[in-house]
């Protein structure tokens, strides 16, 4: 059952990923991206990370991708850029480079599985934010960790978002 769900999700995620980068129309790309994110969220649920799954849907699918869609709609009113550039040359170089990365990744996977070294589960177990049974729910635990251990990074992240927001407004506004 678990394996079935995983393989189904993995196939769909990868398939949609490929469709994102191959779709001719940018709007279709965005659509596939949303579906991809939704499936990734389901994957998170199977990994018992409900909060992250919900955040994935809320922020990624419901927020960021809407932004993409907005921009695509504003921009794709004219013809697609690929039509007027010599894309084949660049694409060949790109594929070559991507092939190199793929080879590297395959090598890593092959090497790891050949040596049979599973991730060191023991090593990290002493680290403080360990899951303490089912005493606390996923959301609560995550909140606890975020606001204690990672309080400063969290605040930095919020500052980053603020800066990004201001930056985006400054960039996109026609006349301030």
């Amino acid at each position: 059952m678990e394996a079935f769900v995983f393989y189904l999700l993995a196939t769909l995620i990868l398939g949609l990923g490929i469709m994102v980068i191959t779709a001719r129309s940018a709007v279709h790309s965005v659509l596939f991206l949303v579906l991809n994110f939704l499936l990734v969220a389901i994957l998170y649920v199977t990994l018992s990370a409900q909060f992250v799954a919900v955040i994935q849907v809320l922020v990624y699918a419901g927020g960021i991708v809407v932004l993409y869609l907005f921009v695509v709609m504003l921009v794709s009113l004219k013809k697609a850029p690929e039509l007027r550039s010599d894309s084949r040359r660049v694409a060949r170089t790109g594929l070559l480079l991507a092939g190199a990365v793929l080879a590297e990744l395959i090598a890593i996977v092959w090497y790891t599985s050949a040596n049979g070294s599973a991730p060191p589960a023991q090593a990290a177990s002493d680290f403080p934010p360990r899951l303490a049974g089912d005493a606390m729910l996923n959301t609560e635990r995550l909140g606890w960790v975020l606001y204690t251990e990672y309080l400063i990074p969290f605040e930095v992240a919020s500052m980053l978002l603020l800066v990004a927001m201001i930056g985006a407004i400054v960039l996109a506004k026609k006349n301030l």
Binding site: S25, V34, V54, V57, G62, T139
Partner: protein, 332 residues
């Protein structure tokens, strides 16, 4: 097997069918109530007092020709109504009609977050529907809609957070139970939040006075101008399903869900003779009526006024409410 598949499937079947029937009768109710508010009768021809209109309307919609505009993006054009309806239906999976099985389909710990995140997907249907029609009015409307939905979502979510703070849980059943423990509906504990969520809900479901994305007198019908037949009826269904969702959320979070009024007052115990889900449906019905009533009363906001209200009024109030709730939580 029975518990994991058959019963949930049955529940889903019952709920979806009940929902669709409710939507058709909700449309009838809207037309009737609007009629009475406007010194006319509403539908009267089909069946006694026009009751069968609820059945005839969907049949008419389904039988109508399904037109795809020339140069429309066919794939997206078909997908958009589906993308708008599915989230509206999915939300119901976590809305409890009672505290125990079989009154809910799923009881998940992040219930409220789930509702918020799934409803946020609904905006795609509107944007894509407007874009793929290849027509300017729907495009304008979908730009309006997406901006409106996203901005009001911020206010609503922030307000809901303050309710979560009060209840101490994201679980929908937990929130209702917290109201039992408090002995008070959260409408009395969080009156500001209650009003904010309802107003935000009006905006998120594109209802008057916030119905700019489908303002027929400005944008000739908005994002679904070019839609007809079955695909239009999907949009229609999604809109009304969303109205029911908002009503259900308000009823659950502020009006005690399936509980009778004043759940801790023993003198009113006779009210428990009415089953919980009837109470819940009655509360939902009240808010549905409120939606229609408001529609019959108010003019429509302008786009910039709408945004100003969202950003300059609702969000600051929501933040203020949140901060006050936090302080109260710490002090008390």
């Amino acid at each position: 097997m029975l518990d994991t598949f058959v019963i949930p499937l049955l529940q889903i079947a019952v709920l979806v069918n009940a929902l669709l029937v409710t939507v058709t009768f909700l449309v009838l109710m809207e037309r009737k109530v609007m009629g009475w508010a406007q010194a006319r009768l509403g539908p009267m021809r089909v069946g006694p007092y026009g009751i069968l209109q609820a059945i005839v309307d969907p049949i008419k919609l389904i039988l109508k020709e399904d037109i795809t505009p020339a140069n429309a993006d066919r794939f997206v054009f078909t997908l958009a109504p589906i993308m708008s309806l599915v989230p509206a239906l999915v939300v119901f999976s976590v809305i409890p009609f009672g505290p125990e099985q079989p009154y809910y389909i799923a009881d998940i710990n992040v219930g409220l977050l789930f509702i918020i995140s799934v409803t946020s997907i609904g905006v795609y249907g509107i944007i894509l529907g407007g874009w793929s029609s290849n027509s300017k009015y729907p495009l304008l409307a979908s730009l309006r809609a997406s901006a409106q939905l996203i901005s009001y979502e911020i206010a609503v979510v922030m307000t809901l957070v303050s309710v979560v703070l009060t209840a101490g849980t994201l679980n929908m059943i937990g929130i209702v139970e917290a109201q039992r423990e408090a002995g008070l509906w959260f409408a009395f504990v969080q009156p500001v939040a209650c009003v904010l969520v309802f107003i935000g809900g009006l905006a998120e479901t594109n209802r008057l006075p916030f119905d700019l994305p489908e303002a027929e007198t400005e944008l000739t019908g908005g994002f679904h101008t070019e839609y007809s037949g079955m695909r239009f009826s999907l949009f229609f269904l999604a809109e009304y399903a969303n109205i029911i969702v908002i009503s259900a959320i308000v009823a659950l979070m502020f009006f005690g869900g399936w509980m009778r009024p004043f759940p801790n007052v023993e003198a009113l115990a006779f009210l428990d003779l009415i089953p919980g889900w009837v109470w819940f449906c009655g509360k939902i019905f009240f808010f549905l009526y409120l939606f229609v009533w408001i529609r019959a009363t108010f003019p429509r906001y302008r786009y910039d006024q709408l945004m100003a209200i969202g950003w300059k009024v609702l969000i600051p109030i929501a933040i203020g409410n949140l901060v006050l709730t936090g302080i109260a939580k710490v002090v008390l």
